[in-house]
Amino acid sequence: MTNAVPRLSCRGLRLAVAGRELVASLDLDVRAGECWAVVGPNGAGKTTLVTALAGLASPAAGEITYDGTPLARLDPRERAVKRGFLPQDSVDFFPATVLETALVGRHPHLARWQWESAADVACARAALAAFGLGGLDARDARTLSGGERRRLALAALVAQDPALLLLDEPSSHLDLGQQIAALDVVTALAETDGKAIVMVLHDLHLALRYADHAIALGRGRARAGAAADVLTAASLSDLFGHRLIAVGEGAASTLVPA
């Protein structure tokens, strides 16, 4: 596995917002089957990082490649076939049904004049069912609850079926049970389908529970590596500016403020 070309790589990635440097230089290799968590305090640059990795904002410096191909050599549609991106929030400007919203994920797979096939509809329905939204096909998406809409956005991402999934706070708006149910579905894609996953997580418990690798952002630097090395009480205490202690065991282990 380690010999394979990484799904996502970056070298010398520098991120800055409004002249403030968030990340000086980041080298990263995300391989098939890996699940990465991005953690860090508010304003550390988590969203900036995943947006840049998604190719939706230009980094201040550095090169990003998908499957060994530099982003600059991929047009928007080729990028969308390789990677999916879940933004922090989504807004509904016009009425659309739940099924229509999930089907939007199939857009990069269709040619200009092509309509969604029965296979595309089946793909969207399967994604909806995976996130507990089966049977809501015809509902106006704007009548859903915040948690249901979040799961609908996740379903659209899964229907898109990219090899690399970049998610900005996938667990937001979800209750505790739904957080586990939704992230079980997402991370299973890494194990069973060899997807590569990078997700911003606020909840350190979820990061410890699901990620095998992690990027800790803050204080102008980024630490990337195995989750066991990065997500430690010692290193994160420094990052969050508050002492953290490890509690719990196995799947229930987490870090809490002392």
């Binding site: 928007p76 549609r77 659309a96 309509w115």
Partner: protein, 336 residues
Amino acid sequence: MPASHVSGLATPARSLAIVAALAVAALAALGLALAVGTVAIDGADIVRALAGGTSETAATIVRELRLPRALAAFAVGGLLALAGALMQVLLRNPLADPYVLGISGGAAVGALGAMLAGAAGLVTLAALGGALASTLLVFGLARAGADRAPWTTTRLLLTGVVVASGWGALIALMLTLAPDAQVKGMLFWLIGDLGGTTRAAPAMITLVVALCASLAFARDLNVLSRGEHVAAALGVAVPFTTFVLCALAALATAAAVTTAGSVGFVGLVVPHALRLVIGNDQRVLLPASVFAGGTLLVLADTLARSIAAPVQLPVGVVTAFIGVPVFLALLARGRT
């Protein structure tokens, strides 16, 4: 219950059925427009007139007066509804209409300027020049600035609104300076009027071109309607697509105002009302808007030239009188 978009996914078959039904309605409206007027002409005579051959008065009326005017009305209505549908999605605002980019203002300044200068024959050309100048001005200014940033809908909208205000002031100035005898003609132009229309071909050709070109981007528009970030993540080349579609909307609007002046209401209301009924899939909505907008303007113009005959009303007044109650009724029924 809010409308059938909740019940059915847009499929090629369903879309074709909707567009075909609206096309039949458009043909019926065109037939009515040929039959109704100071001289009533029955169906058999219309068919004979269209087939050519005879040179009776009825045939001349149909072929040389009513047909060009009815086709022009259809084209103008279709162009405005198409431009409105495009602008509403591009700006993600159901209140957008074809005139938000200031195009009608530029056309009006051109047309009124020609009237003021006494060059009645140049009104159409001057309107086209004004529309194009305004379009170039808005697109150029929206991108002006230190970083030459790509076109964004917000900047286009803001620039368009401000440029439109400038045109508005010029129009008010010209109306103030114009001799009384000319003011009525100017007002007719500003409200929208098909009385002077003799050629339908330019508007009709523009309509076909603009519809086909925008249909090529229809699914991109569906994704864009969910926001620029979502669209970019799903592989839409956002700046390029926005530019092409804004340019198509500008072209459609310029062709419409050049033909009939600033007919209001069609571009705002037709796409919005259709969206309430058939949903927001642009692959259906764009052609449906064209046929529904065209039908509405053909009916409105027929009414405008016959309801108070021999006095002819400006068609823009009639579109508002028909459109306002219909739209309010839809809104009350649908709660979208």
